[in-house]
Point group: C2
Chain length 235, copies 2
């Protein structure tokens, strides 16, 4: 990992461990250079990265300030693994419903931009928050990128496995969100009625080189889920 | 506007006018320097800005590539004025329902971080797409930042007025999204039934210095609205 990303991660840890709030001022560039024993460019790159990720905002001539909203229990869609990071303090649980290598459907082919002979891993999980059914998540991982998955990996954190063990470098994500209607199977899983509304979130995860490798479809329980989305700054 | 932002805007125009697709390669840094007659740093800053705004992704050693999804008719929540930019080709209409200067409610005070003696402009609009009712939008603008609004401005583009005439520099946005239920007034406006689901989007717009100046609440017609959200790249 480049030095500036390490520094960026350490600054995030500081923001969290010091329980800093929206508008709180970060240390100056000079102070950060001393604290982390790195050069000015590394700090400038780290701050640019943190602004890009919406952890801070920079005000010309006055410094860098913390960006943090006040509402609890919102899933941060714009963050990778927003579930884990933003629902800290809540008891989360994921029950594995299905795991298999399979041929892609047409929908999966279109979203992963692959041919029908490419195999994918299919993973279906039921998530709960504080013991309440929260979402049904179906994911398709390209087998040429993710050659192996088992129950233990899936029940732990797939993303940690991809990054730490497979050394996959996730690049960016596209999300598509709309209100859908639950089918019988998913309604039963969420203790709702078929036809009840659901927040339907489709996500395509890309590698750093732009190749899609993971397509997921989540049906959220409409009464249990709320989302936080960080908007871009203005060009 | 800084030079690099001008260049960034011109590159966006090029991407759109050349109808470039996801994965299409941008001209090299050297070619861009020639095209826009600017230095290397300006191009590098423009590309960083475009990556931040998710218009492109940069691959170390190979160049910059267009980021663009294939689905039509999705509102880009992560973009300022995503409605105007992302529903190009659709006929949009906004009908003004109410416009007045007023005292803030407790909800507005909390979200704009203001005291009860601060005045706000209240604007209520009904939006249609292709003649179909699409959303009911209620916005509160801090009067100390937006001292004047009238019907013509509101029916045109408030954001263009803020930026071009008032020289306000928008900084960033926080969005909160959940499934809500329509009340009688908004259900009637959207030709739906009270209690029908709605995508409820609350947005807080901040100035560059971190001060919130606009709080808006949108009730979307659940069958007419779908959203595109660009996720952050991974730290």
């Amino acid at each position: 990992m480049p030095k500036y990303k390490e520094v960026a991660q350490k600054i995030i840890q500081k923001i969290n461990s010091n329980d800093m709030k929206q508008g709180d001022k970060l240390a100056s560039i000079e102070e950060l250079m001393k604290q982390f024993d790195v050069g000015k460019n590394t700090i400038l790159n780290a701050l640019t990265e943190l602004e890009k990720q919406a952890y801070i905002y920079q005000v010309r001539g006055s410094g860098s300030f913390v960006r943090k909203h006040k509402r609890e229990g919102y899933i941060n869609i714009t963050e990778v693994n927003g579930l884990r990071n933003n629902l800290q303090g809540f008891h989360l649980d994921a029950k594995l419903l299905d795991l298999k290598a399979t041929k892609p459907t047409h929908e999966v082919m279109a979203n992963l931009n692959i041919a029908e002979n490419e195999e994918v891993y299919y993973v279906k999980r039921l998530r709960s928050i504080e013991g309440r059914k929260f979402s049904v998540e179906e994911s398709y991982y390209l087998k040429s990128v993710v050659p192996y998955l088992n129950q233990q990996i899936v029940e732990d954190s797939i993303f940690n496995y991809l990054i730490d063990d497979l050394k996959i470098e996730p690049g960016f994500i596209d999300h598509f969100l709309r209100v859908g209607k639950l089918n019988k199977i998913n309604a039963d899983l969420l203790n709702l009625e078929p036809g009840d509304p659901t927040v339907l979130l489709e996500s395509i995860f890309y590698l750093k080189n732009g190749q899609p490798f993971d397509y997921s479809i989540i049906n959220y329980h409409y009464e249990e889920s709320q989302f936080f989305i960080q908007g871009a700054s203005y060009i």
